[in-house]
Amino acid sequence: MTDLYQAQRAMRNMRRAAMQRGVIAILDIGTSKIACLILRFDGVQGFGDETVGPMAGQSSFRVIGAATTRSRGVRFGEISVMAETERAVRTAVQAAQKMANVRVDHVIACFSGAEPRSYGLAGEIELEDSVVTEQDVARVLAACDVPDIGQGREVLHAQPVNFALDHRSGLGDPRGQIGNRLATDMHLLSIDGTVVQNILHCIQRCDLELAGMASSAYVSGISSLVEDEQELGAACIDMGGGSSGISIFIKKHMIYADAVRMGGDHVTSDISKGLMVPMAVAERIKTKHGGVHATGMDDREMIEVGGDSGDWEKDRRQISRTELIGIMRPRVEEILEEVRERLDAAGFDSLPSQQIVLTGGASQIPGLDGLASRILGQRVRLGRPLRVQGLPQAATGAAFSSAVGLCLFAAHPQDEWWDFEIPTERYPARSLKRVVKWFKDNW
């Protein structure tokens, strides 16, 4: 864990350096597609008028290159064939670089797999003197009891969600406030370490440096939940190709994240199996004619399945749309049921607002919102990512919510555990900070 802590600190510094250079690449490694966006940071461009502020901080960067390619060698949001994935990443990065006409060296990546697990941590310390300092914040974060996250698992996000000073809770920034006891709640997201190692290795093989990592469920939430949803409590379901990420937000912090290892690709494979067609044909039929609510009209809508077996009977097959929906619906229902289970396990019922936002490529199935509201609850809407400057029209769909969210994440990262100072007790024995602290304590 200390290794990754150091690695995350190093990545943070690298990202700072990249932002100073002004260009950084965003890489969304998904199961069905790999998207690469290249951002240019120009600093905040005001409108000259003080009353009109920059739009949610998005005016500080601009998308100058965007490319998408079909993902290869990725299953369930995890790399399964390294060489294939590397080629796909190279394709996406090269195309985006070509569009941006600039070379990028630093990449922030996100991925949906690796079995994310959420933990809520709590820490509490007695303040030495009554005023809360940076050191106290560092100490209270260090005082959190780390649960046993399991063998071979690493921490991806560790965000302090709440600070409490004596009886006052819900403090955003406790520094400079006066009290006796400082307590914190931290949200820790752990993932499988080997998946991270694979992604790191894959990106290094493309001559790029990893300047940050994020869970795609988290970044999709950032981009597709609007501000009041993030504040009052909402869940974002990012239905991707190989896995569906779940993230729950309240008070603008992610408090829970999970992933269901099922997605749109499973629907496609069901169609492929059910209709005995290749995956490519199944995918085409799904996107053109797919749905989850059958009506009487759909019985009459016949779909040419096609085929190139040479057998007339097989190649001339026709199915009705109702049949297609009959294949798709159970799987979609299964995914949503699974999501429901995860949400129930997380205690989503007890949130004040129970908004659910469906996003991701698989959320574009017609009629999904109706089906989802039956399973997940009444307050379901389809989400599309925020509009950011310079994003091509082709990359504004729901499938790009994690890529766009990663842009926002790159521009305005949330404070994580490793962004705070290391408490002096944890420093090596001969550190200068220890000396300073000794002087402060004794005089």
Binding site: V81, R87, T91, V93, Q94, Q97, N101, R103, D207
Partner: protein, 296 residues
């Protein structure tokens, strides 16, 4: 599972760039490399080719010779050639002297004539006050001469020189009778005080028929020599005023018509006369002083 060892023959071309294509594209997008390649490399090639070409002294000589040849050819075009020298504003003798002094071997390109030097050479001639040189169209070098006008004769130990009003030598003169119209001066440094001499002569206009010349004494003051060997000794300071006073005395009492050897005006408040010996004796006799047998 897809085969790990042998790659299947690809039906479709892999859209992914090869590792080297990817690296080359990234290299090409590096600004430093781009600048080096687009500016540095051509410049280097250009400089090295030029350097290798010019490393051979024979080629360098050929290039410089070629340039010189073209230059020569251009300068020697007939429209730039000077074939004739015309001297304007000079007497025939002086014109011949100027021609001799020009020392140009015509025809000559006008680019090869150093007009400043030629002008300085001509102005070195004593008789020339000022020379203006101009290359006229038609290949004519026109030399406009302003001659010095002789105003005085200066008798020296070696002969007689003509001087202009500034005291600059104009020419030598064989005999005084060649230019009887010019006044004569003598003495060391007389030429440098020529202007003063002319002013004195102008002031002495009433006694000019009797005037033989001016003598510079000790390069500091003038003596006026009249006929009958009369001398008027003028002071260093304000000689004009002194001579005007003398002329006033002369016109009042015919001073210079008397038997006087010299009038000494060097002390301005007390002119002194030196009488001739006979006149002195007469004066003494009239005063009853017997000087017979005396040396005085």
């Amino acid at each position: 599972m897809q085969p790990l060892s042998a790659r299947r023959p690809a039906l479709r071309v892999d859209p992914a760039p090869t590792k080297w294509a990817y690296r080359m594209q990234r290299l090409w997008l590096t600004p430093v490399f781009r600048t080096l390649f687009r500016v540095g490399l051509p410049a280097f090639v250009l400089v090295s080719v030029a350097g290798v070409f010019l490393a051979d002294p024979a080629r360098r000589a050929a290039i410089s010779g070629g340039i010189a040849g073209v230059r020569e050819q251009f300068q020697n075009r007939p429209e730039f050639m000077v074939r004739l020298v015309s001297v304007v504003g000079a007497s025939p003798e002086l014109a011949d002297a100027v021609r001799a002094r020009l020392a140009l071997t015509l025809p000559l390109s006008s680019f090869d004539i150093d007009l400043t030097a030629v002008r300085a050479r001509i102005q070195d001639l004593d008789a020339v006050a000022r020379a203006d040189l101009m290359v006229r169209s038609g290949g004519v070098l026109e030399v406009a001469i302003t001659e010095r006008v002789p105003a005085l004769l200066w008798r020296t130990e070696t002969g007689i020189e003509m001087l202009d009003a500034d005291g600059h030598r104009v020419a030598s003169l064989a005999a005084r009778t060649d230019r009887p119209d010019l006044p004569i001066i003598a003495g060391e440094g007389a030429d440098s005080a020529a202007a003063e001499a002319l002013a004195l002569l102008a002031a002495a206009a009433p006694i000019l028929p009797r005037l033989r010349g001016l003598v510079r004494v000790g390069d500091r003051r003038w003596d006026v020599v009249l006929d009958r060997n009369q001398r008027i000794l003028l002071p260093e300071e304000k000689p004009i005023a002194a001579i005007e006073r003398l002329i006033a005395l002369h016109q009042a009492g015919d001073l210079l018509g008397r038997d006087i050897l010299a009038v000494d005006l060097r002390t301005d408040h007390r002119p002194v006369l030196r009488l001739a010996p006979f006149a002195l004796n007469q004066l003494r006799q009239s005063q009853g002083i017997d000087t017979s047998g005396s040396q005085l």
